[in-house]
Symmetry: C2
């Protein structure tokens, strides 16, 4: 009887601790995707992997946001049409829906607004929206799928973007060790990882890196306390607003799966996560971390790697005589 | 009772027909892969999708042999390092183990001998075998897998190629309508498709296109009866043997999944399958096909599309400080 009471009390305690953590911690749980349109997801998945959305027919969404490698390409910046080196590091698509805006400079308000951008960016897929639509429209299996889903005879770039965005919404990574701990599993984090998280809060990292994404809720100046030294020419949010005060303001990147998404920062200049932590503390918070502190925070960040989406490669419908031919040069 | 006897006789008849077809038809069934080493397959699958086997870290085996599109890239010739346009059309990896030699000119005797070729080809992945080995060796999860499988401490390019080849051996496409028909299912082909197959034999196509791959058993001169007009500079088998008589000899490509593997011929110049059929009959067999004959043969060729391999995208192990950095330019 005593034993049962003890278990009951400790269960209550742990349920209480879990409720407290979920409510009070600045980092929130990543939930699996739900309520999505399955047909639209399946269509979007085909389009995601379809290189025919690029001028060369050689670049798909997955080329730069590779779902085998954390939704990124692990390059400082991506390679686009005719081997053009992109101007900025490709952010991960994992959990990307949870960002308050899309792109580093926030120029798209949501995934759908983002999805059509790379298709006609001359440095990326280098196509035109018209040709992308013509391509998809020339493929009977696609045409049928669009017809059934959107109940219209004319495929549009808007519908293409809607489908890709719906697929991207499935790309959640729940059940990271940190999330299990948030839900009350004491053993999900070890002592060092818990100390790392305590330091992460104590040093002020959570002032920007909070919420389910551990970021992605605001813009912040890169080099808030000390200037960030980079060869990258991007001026951040100012390119959109034209405001001097928005110079070098970027969306705070989420840190979910950060162990997978090297190299770091908008210029992709730092390959080592611990070094990235040290630099951030220095230039954003004016804090000089000890080696031990950087190590612990890094170990905590490693606990943000969740279950990766299980992706069965789609089979793409074949082209027809009417499909525009690839233009490689 | 009469009814039962009738069923028994027709079953016997159909079993007999199936046995006859399997034994007597020049095209043989594609069987699913069997007897493979699962650990080696899983390792090979990761390597297959790993762009770190290329100098830029942007090109994987799957870039040019895309398993979402029939094991090819549907380009006249592939795009390699720094947007180099390759010299020849990328053949499919589906069922590729069944080819008597690998590459168009047969310079590799099997999949393993082939697999390491693109890695250090300056026009393809442009790496060196030494750097590829260093890369894989710098990644603990890979090191562990190699260790367990090969029981040695030193990863070699030979082991990398062995693993990739083992994965490729899984890429069979059984149960094409034609194979079901070969096995006695009368309804698997319609009247036109059966007529197409009869024409395929009658016109002499099976003299080269036979066996389980419907090809891949011999070399043949491209332009046997009339010269093949092409801008492609490849001289075929002669580049390997140095023999004048081997000029323009290429491995006869298999026609399995040919509906998916456009564009056609070693120069990738023809996008339409029916047109390819007409040209082949003309320049290889000296036969002028009617439009109706080309249509029927093409419809038969469409029945060679089998069940595509179900590929779950692997999660690639992360790089470390010791992993060589990508060299994009």
């Amino acid at each position: 009887m005593k034993h049962i009471i003890f278990i009951a009390i400790s269960t209550l305690f742990s349920l209480n601790a879990a409720a407290n953590r979920i409510n009070n911690e600045p980092i929130k749980i990543i939930k699996p995707a739900s309520g999505l349109n399955t047909d639209l997801v399946n269509l979007g998945k085909k389009l995601w992997f379809d290189p025919r959305l690029s001028k060369s027919n050689a670049i798909s969404c997955n080329s730069c946001h590779n779902l085998a490698t954390g939704g990124v390409d692990n390059l400082a910046s991506s390679i686009g049409h005719q081997w053009t080196i992109g101007p900025i590091n490709s952010p991960t698509v994992l959990n990307a829906e949870l960002n308050f805006v899309q792109f580093w400079n926030g120029r798209a308000k949501n995934l759908k607004a983002q999805a059509s951008g790379p298709i006609d960016n001359p440095k990326e897929m280098a196509f035109t929206h018209t040709l992308a639509v013509d391509t998809i429209n020339s493929i009977p299996q696609y045409k049928k799928m669009f017809n059934q889903i959107f109940d219209s005879n004319e495929i549009s770039i808007d519908e293409i973007a809607t489908a890709i965005a719906e697929f991207e919404k499935t790309l959640r990574t729940p059940n990271a060790p940190f999330d299990l701990w948030l839900q009350g599993d004491e053993t999900a984090l070890n002592k060092i990882e818990k100390e790392g998280y305590a330091l992460f809060k104590q040093k002020g990292c959570t002032s920007c890196h909070h919420g389910p994404l551990v970021g992605g809720t605001m813009y912040q100046k890169m080099g808030l306390v000390k200037p960030f030294e980079t060869k990258n020419a991007d001026i951040g949010r100012a390119a959109i607003t034209g405001k001097e005060s928005d110079k070098f303001l970027f969306k705070v990147p989420g840190l979910r799966n950060v162990a997978l998404t090297y190299p770091y920062f908008h210029d992709g200049s730092i390959w080592d996560l611990k070094q990235a932590v040290t630099i951030m503390a220095d230039i954003q918070l004016g804090q000089t971390l000890t080696d031990d502190e950087s190590t612990k925070i890094t170990k905590f960040l490693n606990t943000l790697t969740g279950e990766q989406p299980k992706i069965v490669l789609p089979q793409l419908p074949i082209s027809t005589k009417n499909t525009p031919k690839p233009i490689m040069l």
